[in-house]
Symmetry: C2
Subunit: 368 residues, 2 copies
């Protein structure tokens, strides 16, 4: 099916515009590079080895993943420097897998508790020194991570367990809201600065200081302790980034090709709407309260995905825009591209509307 027209691909299908993808990868690499920071993109966003290779070729220092399974896929495909930015709970089976990985690549993992550090070190036994660990700091998102003032306790437990304490990381996820990226970037820098100074005062080198995220990566204060950033979504963009004004329509590299299966002009009793075959099975159903719906539509910026069920996306269609025809193909911008990539086994890669490649989502479903 390579060389065919995009309109001949069955819907729903995840479509990657290769030119936009290349531009997004180059722009982030250049901007981060110019700031003197390293770029370690989070590849859970795409889970595709071909895209990771493009990122590394553009100058990324390594990759970020969220699970041991994701690390296995990317190392198998040639990655040599991987951070599992997650506070792993490591038992015997996880230790076996981490040992194998650390035999093939530089491997670092997150830790956010003394108990977690002791479990990790204990399960790895005399191989604990194969792993670098970064202590996770809570910079305001209040998910995982310890308060910056508490990093030394965790670092000491890790060192005592034989792990190599390399530094700290944080994810300023509270930057995913209107007006928040700048504030979150400032809190991130402040939390990391405090954490690093505590660690150094306690005798740790803490040379690796890693921050988020697509909304904040380009807002990072370069006079902070940060040494690298880990944005993920920037390769594709999505409706959240669009509505946060962190990308424009022209920066959207991923859309979901969908077909109109039901249309209703509406009347006093029944809402005006269009139904597409791109339900939550492909868009995912993330919908932060500040978003305008479950996604946007390239062909009609005024339309909103107002309801999602597994196989139906219901769109409110503007009164002043003509309803698309039954069978028409639209391109939906999901709220959160990471979820979309985790729902499909393959994506269609296009240039100028022609299919030039199909990529397997090799790390999809590697949940543990």
């Amino acid at each position: 099916m390579l060389g065919s027209e995009l309109r001949d691909v069955d819907t729903p299908a995840v479509v990657i515009d290769r030119d936009v993808l290349d531009r997004n990868i180059a722009r982030m690499a250049e901007t981060v590079g110019a700031s003197g920071l390293r770029l370690r993109p989070h590849v859970k966003t795409h889970k595709v080895p071909q895209i990771a290779r493009l990122q590394l070729a553009a100058g990324a220092c390594g990759l970020t993943v969220a699970t041991i399974g994701e690390a296995e896929v990317f190392v198998e495909h040639g990655a040599t420097d991987v951070l599992i930015a997650y506070p792993l709970w490591v038992g015997a089976r996880q230790a076996d897998r981490l040992r194998r990985l650390a035999g093939s690549a530089r491997l670092a993992v997150g830790v956010d508790s003394a108990e977690g550090a002791r479990a990790m070190g204990g399960s790895l036994g005399r191989d604990a020194g194969m792993l670098e660990v970064l202590v996770e700091v809570d910079s305001g998102h209040h998910r995982s991570g310890v308060a910056a003032a508490s990093v030394v306790d965790v670092a000491r437990a890790a060192a005592d367990a034989g792990l190599r304490v390399a530094g700290v990381f944080t994810f300023p996820g509270h930057g995913y809201a209107p007006g928040m990226p700048l504030a979150a970037a400032a809190q991130e820098a402040r939390a990391l600065d405090v954490a690093v100074s505590r660690l150094r005062a306690a005798g740790f080198e803490a040379g690796w200081v890693s921050g988020g995220s697509t909304p904040t990566a380009l807002l990072t204060e370069t006079d902070s302790a940060l040494t690298e950033v880990r944005p993920g979504v920037y390769v594709f963009g999505d409706a959240q980034q669009l509505e946060l004004d962190r990308c424009g329509w022209e920066d959207l590299a991923l859309t979901v090709a969908a077909s109109v299966v039901s249309r209703h002009p509406g009347n006093a009793d029944i809402p005006r709407r269009v139904v597409l075959d791109s339900g939550s099975k492909v868009l995912g159903s993330d919908r932060p309260a500040w978003t305008t719906g479950f996604g946007r539509v390239r062909e009609c910026p005024g339309a909103r995905v107002t309801a999602l069920s597994e196989h139906h996306a219901t769109l409110a269609w503007p009164e002043d825009a003509e309803l698309p025809a039954l069978g028409a193909r639209l391109h939906v911008v999901p709220n959160h591209v990471c979820l979309t990539m985790n729902l499909v086994d393959e994506v269609v890669v296009v240039r100028d509307g022609r299919v030039v490649d199909r990529w397997a989502v090799a790390a999809r479903g590697r949940n543990s």
Copy 2:
């Protein structure tokens, strides 16, 4: 790994309790059978041929699916009577697949517009008569489906296109809200009664009259025109059904085994919380406004999944309950089991806490 203990399975993992599953299947079959209706379970909920076989063995008259791809999987695994309860838009490729399916099984599909009927009939050409079609009626959910008063136009277009008009179907999805199941079941019966009487007045037999849904299936008015119901979620139950009071904790056959990776007693500045490794990658992120969170936890009914990111489930933990230990295993009840099943390739089947089987989710990702 069969015969092993559940606690030896890596997390996050989708766990099916076989005894509860069997009980749920038997109860729905008995109750629907006693009402004189046929049961045609929606197997998009589980996507597992082994579960479909249990449903058919318990007396289901056939299966319901949402896509051609799902129909292909279940027919390949022996299903002989399948309804694709979806207003398919049928082009040449879809017509080829429907022809093949209709050569191996009794096959019916949904239609909700004259244009859709003409496209379907046109693409199937002289094979159009291989398909039965059910006209989809909007009984108040306002997703796909036509008003009951408009069914004759669609049915005539279908018949003119050579399709066999067998009846009508509806999905009373507005029953998924507190206080709504009974009202939605009544609206469903009324809409189907109107639709059937219109069709019969126009000379259609309309002997197949199909309704939803787990919240409404047992509330159906037996003096209506309904001949069958299509519940799906009942096999597992989920947090939505629990909070709608359509099932109890003891009826939950599916949970997600998860590990505590981060815990925080909380203080004046930082919320008391537990973080599990069961993010939206396995729970899905459906969260209707009336639910109390993104899911529930078997070990602590007072806990709530208050935030989900792809790899983290953040739980608010009651002040009066002790925080679980790091590394502890909990069992999360997702809001919507259909999404969970669409996120994993395999599920673990247990009896009395021991692993007795592993089932492939064979129709996962068959999105079109």
